[in-house]
């Protein structure tokens, strides 16, 4: 399968990418790892006139700790996340979730920025970013803008980002009491249901809880009724079971497709919420 013709430019900096996006008048697309975009272009579901390759912009790549925050550049690959010593030490849930994306070949090419910008309803990292309360850092013609992950993901393949903006980085605080549990589609490994739980546990009490789901609905989102049943309580099995028992009850537009019916997905949201909570607590 051959994509339609397009022109190709390799951007040397974030600003050059923004300028090329502006000049194209909406006809261009950014190319990062290409592992969502190229399959779409081969099917001619996407036919950009210009591809702007951001894969070699030095500022966009790498994992750093700065001022108590962990910062991940947009073109950092899933493989780099999965094998990062820094993440394993300060935010192991990010590494673990990245290690479950697709297969080795996909992880060598696919990037965190591409995954978040694309916002596939079955992608893993959006749920993790929402649960750990990450900030998404965007740069456009008017400078920088920061969006909390929670409000970045808006709908099916729809995020709070303008056509001439570049997703440059994500930032978040270290997080230990967090886990991601996923039911994967056997061939692609995309999430049929994925749940990320991030807890703060102090003196045997859950001080805060953020639980986010992907795969089940149009976009990654929190499960507020689960969180309510956790905060202020002790992380016992009974509390986990009770919280997980209402998981997904607030979800609308639950997906139903060849991989899983709505009924099955709703059941699995509860199971994988329980598993994510159990693992997050076991870690704490």
């Amino acid at each position: 399968m051959i994509p339609t013709k397009f022109a190709y430019r390799r951007a040397a900096s974030i600003d050059e990418a923004i300028r090329l996006l502006q000049e194209s008048g909406g006809e261009a697309k950014l190319l990062a790892g290409g592992h969502s975009l190229i399959p779409l272009m081969k099917l001619r579901l996407s036919e950009p006139a210009l591809l702007i390759d951001i894969g070699r912009i030095p500022d966009l790549r790498g994992i750093r700790e700065r001022d108590g925050l962990i910062e991940i550049g947009a073109t950092t690959t899933h493989h780099e996340l999965a094998t990062s010593e820094l993440l394993r030490r300060l935010a192991p849930v990010v590494s673990e979730a990245a290690a479950e994306i697709g297969d080795p070949q996909v992880r060598h090419r696919g990037t965190i920025g591409g995954s978040l910008a694309h916002a596939d309803p079955a992608a893993d990292l959006p749920a993790v970013m929402v649960a750990i309360d990450a900030e998404i850092h965007l740069k456009g013609p008017n400078g920088w803008r920061t969006v909390p992950a929670e409000s970045f993901f808006q709908d099916l393949f729809t995020v709070d980002m303008q056509p001439d903006e570049v997703l440059a980085a994500v930032k978040f605080r270290p997080v230990w009491h967090a886990a991601y549990a996923k039911l994967h589609q056997r061939a692609s490994h995309y999430a049929i249901v994925g749940v990320c739980a991030a807890l703060a546990i102090e003196n045997g009490t859950i001080r805060s809880a953020r639980v986010a789901v992907t795969g089940a609905s149009t976009h990654a989102q929190r499960l507020p009724n689960v969180e309510e049943r956790l905060v202020g309580r002790q992380p016992t099995q009974a509390v986990i079971d009770e919280a997980a028992s209402v998981a997904g009850d607030t979800l609308e537009d639950v997906n139903s497709d060849i991989h899983a019916s709505e009924e099955y997905r709703r059941a699995m949201v509860k199971v994988f919420t329980r598993r994510a909570l159990e693992r997050a607590v076991a870690r704490a």
Partner: protein, 161 residues
Amino acid sequence: MSDLVPISITVNGRRYELEVEPRLLLVHLLREKLLLTGTHVGCDTSQCGACTVLLDGRSAKSCTVFAVQADGSEVVTIEGLERDGQLHPVQEGFWEEHGLQCGYCTPGMIVSVVDLLNENPNPTEAEIRAGISGNFCRCTGYQHIVKAAQYAAARMRGVSS
């Protein structure tokens, strides 16, 4: 608008200077321009791994990379694994342990096992299965592929099996 983009790419140790259409996929560059037909196209939808090559040392599905993205990069295909007529230990493993039947998946499968063993010289069976999870085989049931990988791992660590 000139459609062609100049690229320079090293394949199996040999450097090529080429002009390519941006939409040319790496797998088509390898097969149709360089006539290295060992790399196969199976699904053409990024799923099966038959097109797997090493791109700057890491396994990648060459049906999901534009040749222009590989400008300045080093590619190793199945043809580049043997040394002076000696099979690579992973190729030898597939031979000795009967790691193939029709052979369609084999070039990509072997490259994935090479990538795995480069990173993890002593993998468990579960790690081998995870390492080839991006490669589909419709014939073998994978059992002999796992054995081939174990054979190669032992050979590469200098353990005789």
